[in-house]
């Protein structure tokens, strides 16, 4: 086979597909190559046990850019987002905290724990929405190079500076704090209820090897308010049919625009000629030539495996080796015969339809992190659970349920043993932890799938099991992602681009990297 494409996209994850769709819509001839038998990368639905369909990795839609939904007309291609209402946090003392999207109800619930906090919650919400407005345009911008000597390159920097300048004093203060503080320190300024702070701060650590007290975790608190300003219900929801349905809708839009997609097409290496990328070679030996190669897989796979250090500048290789992955989370997917019954709020109810968060106190969260720092998975981990079958019955047989448990911390590098040996022990720990709050869970489990960080690496091509293709820490964000000087989706290899979560603005089912990269490529080509 030796057909010629304008662009070949490596990886059929959501970013690769978004990237392909935008390029094809601009008239390019695009081919997407996916290693696995199914599209979506980590945004995938698989029938792991007969009749039980799981969003194996990513399990909620949070930040999918509204402009992508609009421009690719995803609802027409089958995307339907169902609301995920609220977060329920059971507490060991028999109480609970249950926040829902209805502000007034949440306020009353918080007032049950602290009147002051209920008042602060209003103020907090307002402040965060202001902040989210400030941050939003940054998401869809190609990061500037602050070291450039070209005044044109300063335009974006100046734009950011002016925007910051225009914020009110209080907003400036909040913005600086959000960018630099720990989630707990930030929340300490607003709230006194421990369980509230613990649950809110949990969103700051998801997918990172940081604790709730680590500086730099406050920023992610904003993500919860991004959806709000887009006019969506907060930001959290399920895709009908599981997370894979998002990828399928994007794939459908891409195909309609003329994109060719191949599955079961693992890539051996990227073809180079005179220092330029000219195509790819598949594992089966097929060569595919293209004017441009766009890689949605992470930099380690792209450069170290598919290109090789010998073809790259030394400094760039050093920077790539310093780029931190450090996966810290795992997933336990449960096929259930019924619904868990929580001691603190017995019986089935609306609280099971939202997220269920095992984050009873700040100390609990921080101790979970401490264990991981020294190379053990948390004996009592932070768990974020959802039961999508309650909202979308199509994913489980009648009367049965699927429960998805995101678990942190599960460090990729274990001090003792390896993940293949520890898999079941890890799964047991998760079930034991849940059982402390919902003892009936043990009798409900029909089947259990444990996804370790090592599985994420082997099965889903996420180096070191990092769900965001690299840590979302300040030194790896914006103009430093994935490497200093290479944050504009370009690479030191001519005609090779990056379009995955390892580029700005990073991981999560956002699609922004794929879209931003496509726009940059169209400008360059």
């Amino acid at each position: 086979m030796n057909s010629k494409y304008d662009v070949v996209v490596i990886g059929g994850g959501h970013n690769g597909l978004v990237n392909a769709a935008y390029l094809a819509r601009a008239g390019k001839k695009v081919l997407v190559l996916e290693r696995r038998h199914v599209l979506g990368g980590a945004a995938v639905t698989e029938e792991v046990f007969p009749g039980f369909k799981f969003s194996v990795c990513s399990y909620v839609v949070s930040l999918l850019r509204p402009e992508i939904i609009r421009e690719l007309d995803l609802p027409r291609h089958g995307l339907e987002i169902l609301p995920l209402d609220g977060t329920f946090t059971p507490m060991p003392n028999g109480d609970y905290l249950w926040r829902v999207n209805d502000h007034a109800r949440t306020r009353r619930e918080i007032a049950r724990h602290s009147r002051l906090d209920a008042e602060a919650y209003d103020e907090y919400g307002k402040a965060m929405i202001e902040m989210a407005h400030f941050v939003k345009p940054i998401m869809s911008m190609t990061p500037p190079d602050p070291t450039t000597l070209d005044p044109k390159g300063w335009k974006n920097l100046a734009f950011l500076g002016r925007r910051f300048q225009k914020l009110s004093d209080d907003d400036k203060y909040n913005q600086v704090q959000l960018m630099t503080m720990s989630a707990v320190d930030f929340l300490d300024q607003w709230f006194e209820t421990d369980v509230l702070k613990a649950t809110m701060s949990a969103s700051g650590i998801i997918g990172t090897f940081l604790g709730v007290r680590s500086p730099g975790t406050a920023y992610v608190l904003l993500h919860h308010y991004m959806g709000e300003i887009d006019g969506a219900f907060r930001s959290w929801g399920f895709a009908r049919g599981g997370t894979g349905a998002i990828s399928n809708a994007i794939a459908d839009a891409a195909r309609e625009a003329g994109v060719e997609i191949r599955i079961d097409a693992p890539i051996e290496k990227i073809l180079l000629k005179n220092g330029r990328a000219t195509g790819v070679v598949l594992k089966n030996g097929d060569e595919i030539h293209a004017g441009v190669v766009s890689s949605s897989v992470d930099p380690r796979l792209t450069f170290m495996k598919m290109i090789g250090e010998e073809h790259l500048p030394d400094d760039f290789c050093t920077d790539l080796k310093r780029y931190k992955y450090r996966g810290s989370s795992g997933k336990v997917n449960l096929a259930l015969d019924g619904l868990p019954d929580f001691k603190s709020l017995p019986g089935p109810g609306a609280h099971l339809r939202g997220a269920i968060s095992i984050s009873p106190s700040v100390e609990y969260m921080e101790r979970a992190y401490d264990e991981a720092k020294y190379g053990r998975f948390s004996r009592r981990p932070y768990i974020d659970m959802v039961i999508p079958s309650l909202t979308d019955p199509s994913v489980a047989p009648p009367g049965k349920h699927v429960m998805s448990c995101f678990v942190q911390y599960a460090p990729y590098n274990l001090k003792e043993g390896n993940w293949d040996e520890k898999r079941e022990e890890f799964g047991d720990t998760v079930v034991d932890t849940i059982a402390e709050h919902a003892p009936n869970i043990r009798n409900l489990i029909r089947d259990r799938q444990v996804v370790t960080p090592l599985d994420l690496e082997r099965e889903f091509g996420l180096s070191e099991g990092n769900i965001f293709q690299g840590e979302l820490t300040l030194e790896q964000l914006f103009f430093l992602r994935p490497a200093p000087g290479w944050a504009q989706y370009r690479t030191p290899i001519k005609n090779l681009y990056m379009c995955g979560s390892a580029t700005h603005p990073g991981g999560g089912i956002m699609g922004a990297p794929g879209r931003n990269a496509a726009l940059q490529m169209l400008k360059d080509i």
């Binding site: 004093d169 400036k172 503080m181 680590s214 400094d315 720092k373």
Partner: protein, 498 residues
């Protein structure tokens, strides 16, 4: 009015400010609560980065001593690394014992930080520009720094941008593979901070240190005669310039145009300058009704919870540190905290309100019979008991731990003095017992120190100024906050604003 300026507190920054203000012709009075001048300066044991410019300006009669060894890092297996002052070759030989690779990286490490330090250094002695209305002079200053930044070249520019927010554990592992060396360097990123080496933003400490004296590894310079000699020289400089210093004069209230002593005695002045930390100044010395509630709430959220305790030992003889053959190696700082994980564990304890069982210790022996120990982590608030009941337990634990490195130490001890974070608050007036007058994290730094919009040494009260470590460039015996504040205050006098 009796005085032009009243300065609250005769810490080193208050004295520096007094000397400069008196020199500029203002009638200056310094009021010190304790019977001695110097404030918290005496708690420190290396004057390291005291500004040469200030020493020259004020014609200070002091002699700096730079020991041969900057820091001696001990490990519990009896091996050690000596990091020399200005002697890269000897240091390289020390490091070679552990790793040839690290020995090769070390000179580049030293040069890189010196280079970046030179670019950052001018920031220390400038007034942070206001983000809202940068003054022309500020923009000019910043422009100069920007230009210097450009001159660093792409590689160093990006280094600076990356390192600022990074965990110091990551930074050191980019340079070195030897745990002892990594931990010794990383320790300076967490010294005095409620942070462990894995906390993001701790690399900032190394960059700042490099700005102060060109090295990331921390100061070791001392003044002949000890810190007391420095503060005495500062007091002499102030009084000979015409300032008046009153000790045993505790200010308990700041009111519009005067300050009030505990005795009720008022002092009128056109401007009041507080060397006390921001929380003490605004929350204790002022009536809250004087302040905007918004400002107050921000100030209450200013983080200043101390984690360092000081232990002073007098000894009957020189202790025998394991593996240290030459007593000359004890001339600088002695570092105990051999691994990154060790430092992190020490920090972990403080998160839960416990003091570290295996603390990070920074020790100086100004003479063979005196040992000054900074023990970290000793959180201001203990979960169980309090510092009154647990003082001895704490000290015994530190000493027992130190014995692993210096067997037989206990038998040499004549006296033990323990200064807990509580004492730091009560005796030295450091709110929260924080030796730097507040955490030095990115959000409480430079133009955000102590608060965004109030980093120009001025305060919401027209006549009130700050000049302590709670202002830019922060803690350490630099004298720079005092000098910078004096410059702004003198400027306001000249402009007729006060």
């Amino acid at each position: 009015m009796a005085y032009d300026v009243t300065i609250i507190g005769a810490g080193h920054n208050g004295l520096v400010a007094a000397a400069y203000l008196a020199k500029s012709g203002l009638k200056t009075l310094v009021l010190e609560r304790r019977e001695v001048v110097g404030g918290g300066a005496e708690l420190d044991h290396a004057t390291g980065p005291f500004s040469q410019q200030i020493a020259t300006d004020l014609n200070l009669k002091i002699e700096f001593i730079t020991p041969k060894v900057r820091v001696l890092a001990l490990s519990d297996d009896g091996r050690s690394i000596s990091i020399y002052n200005d002697d890269v070759e000897s240091t390289v030989r020390e490091i070679e014992k552990f790793s040839a690779k690290d020995a090769k990286s070390y000179p580049e490490f030293v040069e890189t930080f010196a280079r970046i330090g030179r670019v950052l250094a001018p920031l220390l002695s400038m007034t942070p520009p206001s983000i809202d209305q940068p003054a022309k002079g500020d923009v000019w200053q910043l422009g100069k720094v920007g230009l210097a930044f450009r001159k660093l070249g792409k590689k160093d520019e990006y280094r600076l941008l990356r390192w600022g927010p990074m965990a110091v554990a990551d930074l050191v592992s980019e340079w070195f593979e030897t745990e002892l060396l990594r931990a010794t360097v990383a320790a300076r990123g967490i010294h005095g901070a409620f942070a462990g080496p894995w906390s993001a933003g701790t690399s900032l400490g190394l960059l700042w240190q490099a700005a102060m004296d060109g090295s990331a590894i921390g100061p070791s310079t001392s003044v002949k005669g000890g810190i007391g000699a420095l503060t005495k020289a500062l007091a002499d400089a102030a009084t000979s310039a015409g300032a008046e210093i009153r000790t045993g004069a505790e200010v308990t209230r700041i009111e519009d145009s005067h300050v009030m002593l505990r005795s009720g005695e008022p002092f009128e002045a056109r401007a009041v300058v507080s060397n006390a930390d921001p929380r003490t100044t605004f929350l204790k010395l002022l009536d809250p009704v004087e302040l905007d509630p918004n400002f107050l709430s921000k100030l209450r959220n200013y983080r200043a919870t101390g984690v360092v305790a000081k232990i002073n030992l007098t000894l009957s003889g020189l202790p025998d540190f394991r593996g240290v053959d030459d007593p000359a190696k004890l001339s600088g700082r002695i570092h105990i905290g051999p691994e990154i994980d060790y430092l992190e564990r020490a920090f972990d304890a403080s998160k839960y309100g416990e003091f570290s069982r295996e603390p990070y210790l920074d020790i100086v022996m100004p003479s063979p019979n005196v040992m000054s120990i900074h023990a970290q982590f000793a959180p201001y608030k203990l979960k169980e008991g309090d510092w009154t009941t647990r003082r001895d337990e704490f000290a015994n634990n530190v000493i027992a731990h130190l014995e692993k490195y210096a067997p037989g130490l206990r038998d040499l001890i004549d006296t033990v003095e323990v200064i807990t974070p509580r004492d730091l608050e009560e005796t030295y007036g450091l709110s929260g017992g924080h030796i730097h007058h507040g955490e030095q994290t990115l959000d409480q730094f430079f133009t955000f120190r102590p608060l965004i919009g109030w980093a120009q040494y001025r305060t919401p009260l027209k006549r009130l100024y700050l000049c302590g470590a709670g202002t830019h460039p922060g803690g350490g015996i630099t004298g720079l906050p005092g000098a910078n504040a004096a410059r702004e205050i003198a400027r306001d006098f000249k402009a007729g604003k006060v």
